[in-house]
Symmetry: C3
Subunit: 280 residues, 3 copies
């Protein structure tokens, strides 16, 4: 049983981290998918970060060196991109930069599941960010997973034990997005509430959350649990700000970028937004 308690210290620290985004404008190097490239860049810019999209082996080492963080999302993967992502992950490791990894559609095909496992065993990841079905597919008991293409079909709660096990195995934070997000480092569990049901009707919102998680990791490289919770809370706040004026997913995406741009970091710490729970 989990016993939810307000996580005042975590919430306050998340709000402080959110406030630093625009002031410090961390450089996030992204290797992401074709669908998400534009929206993820716009999300980072609106949130105050500085995005670069790059993948060539000729430059990924230099990019990792100047980056605050590296965000890898293999949504439209093929052999050439997989190779570039591994090179990038290793370059980030050499440069001592945190890596955020989003295994889009893990579970949908053996290629995706296998590639995700290979990445996790090849370079260190600070945050593994995924939906519940992807986390279940990557766990040691993936039979329960039911991925439909790249969309989750499992509730967040069902994936928390698997997330905690993955976190302990790969010494990272595992962030599971959904109606109430969860992030765990295998010892602690933070839940992040709020948001809008329109968000999953906009493509690349998860991918963009991964990119923003990278931006937060650049500012708090020693605390990926907090960085992931902060990015999730920023998304929830911006979605809530945007929702009242949205008439559907088109205007929601526009209003969401506007809300990110004028986000009050204090919203990240409002009552009930971030709670600490005991791991089940």
């Amino acid at each position: 049983m989990s016993h939810p308690t307000e996580s005042a210290p975590a919430a306050a620290r998340a709000a402080a981290l959110a406030a630093r985004l625009r002031a410090e404008s961390p450089l996030v190097v992204n290797i992401t998918n074709y669908v998400a490239m534009n929206f993820a860049a716009n999300v980072l810019l609106a949130a105050g970060a500085s995005p670069v999209m790059a993948h060539a082996p000729e430059e990924i080492g230099e990019m990792a060196a100047i980056a605050g963080t590296l965000s890898i999302n293999f949504g439209t993967l093929d052999a050439a991109w997989v190779k570039a992502m591994v090179q990038a992950g290793l370059a980030a490791q050499r440069a001592g930069k945190p890596v955020v990894f989003d295994p889009v559609g893990a579970g949908a095909t053996t290629y995706r599941t296998g590639t995700a496992h290979a990445f996790l065993e090849t370079f260190p990841v600070a945050v593994l960010r995924a939906n519940s079905s992807e986390i279940l597919a990557l766990s040691d008991a993936p039979a329960a997973a039911a991925t439909k293409g790249v969309d989750a079909t499992d509730p967040v709660d069902a994936a928390i034990p698997a997330a905690a096990a993955l976190a302990r195995k790969h010494r990272c934070a595992v962030a599971v997005s959904g109606a109430v997000d969860a992030v765990t480092d295998g010892t602690r569990l933070l839940r992040v509430a709020g948001g809008s049901p329109l968000m999953p009707r906009i493509t690349a919102t998860g991918c963009s959350l991964t990119a923003l998680t990278g931006a937060c990791c650049a500012l708090a490289p020693g605390d990926p649990l907090l960085a992931a919770a902060t990015a999730m809370a920023i998304f929830k706040v911006a979605a809530e700000t945007a929702a009242p004026a949205a008439r559907g997913p088109g205007s929601m995406a526009v209003a969401f970028l506007d809300a990110l741009h004028s986000l009050d970091p204090a919203g990240v710490a409002t009552s009930g937004r971030i709670r600490e729970e005991a791991l089940p």
Copy 2:
């Protein structure tokens, strides 16, 4: 001479098909171009379908097996993508899934025209969806075609005989979009009216219509003529709903996604929307 008549049965069946989209949320696997990736995914999500973008040979067979349909659009083609598209088309054939094919810019270069012919001769296509200039370029009498880059310069009516001949030759439906859309299986001809002149001022609307045609084919794999007409009618209805609030192509694209999201399927069957005509 064509003698237009209201196609009450077709219109009613199209409205019923449109109503199933959100309820059944078919999985559409897309191999599409870089320009259209994001917008096509958002169109599918807004319409209630579930999009995946994938192209790697390592997974395209599995993707085709779990997909309801495969949508191929070669808008930013090169040798690697062409190879992946052929593999995908053959995988869909093995899996018994319908394929929708959009030969963007056929007629603009010999590479595009030749690749389109090669696809049509290599794997079965349920719906060939294109603009009038592209259809004329693929016909046996392409001299009349005048493609300007990837935009049509010919009226829809001029392409109907060529569309019908292509439909008979390749045993598929051929959907020609324009001011009044046309779709034919070589025997029957449906016309779809409505829409907005702002739509061609938004990039990737044709590509997104191809993706939505795929979603409709997944629900009616035995009736590509109806599936194509339904997707076309949905686009026309959403464009009409969006147009009054649009101040230009930017706000039109946003309002179009909103309108898709809250579309009343009954609009697909309003008087004059879908008409059956005799083939000329």
Copy 3:
């Protein structure tokens, strides 16, 4: 010291050129980056031009032959794209079509800086369009440059001497975008004022300006200085039209496309918009 004077002839000629865009709808063939593909196509369509995105060696020669101009932007470069861009540049040279080149992130990595130099030495460029940091990085005294990823960190004025030197060396116009744009052919210097501080918070606005510069070059192939100033002035006017209704970068991007679509070319020639200055 520069002595600013109203450039009535240049401004009037720019307004005349802007008015021709929608009437003549030049075909712009773009080899651009994954982030910018969709937005650049929408910018060209909204401004009245006709975009094609293509890069395959099998067709780039034909595309260059039918194009009014070629726009090259290497933002998400790798070896395959670099090769395609060189082929495209040479094909444009053979076809006698002007090339606009945007060296995104030059200075951020040696790969980008080296590739940009290689392009400038391999095929003729009509307009080199970049931000101040990229221009400084490409100059013979790059020590002053401070590129942060792909965003400029130097003021436009600091880059003007380097821009003029590059223009003389490569016999092209060099356009430097920023708060007050500058474009020089090494002899003359035009400044373009206006715009909105929200524009740099939208990704791919610079890339899209490059694409529009291509469209203007297609209409004035003999006057790249004027073509670049016209594209810059169109962007400034549209940004000013869009800004009052914008609530952030999301709605700004939408309103900007709307404003391009209904742009009054006379705005390009309003007092103070385009000034001629002496080169420092």
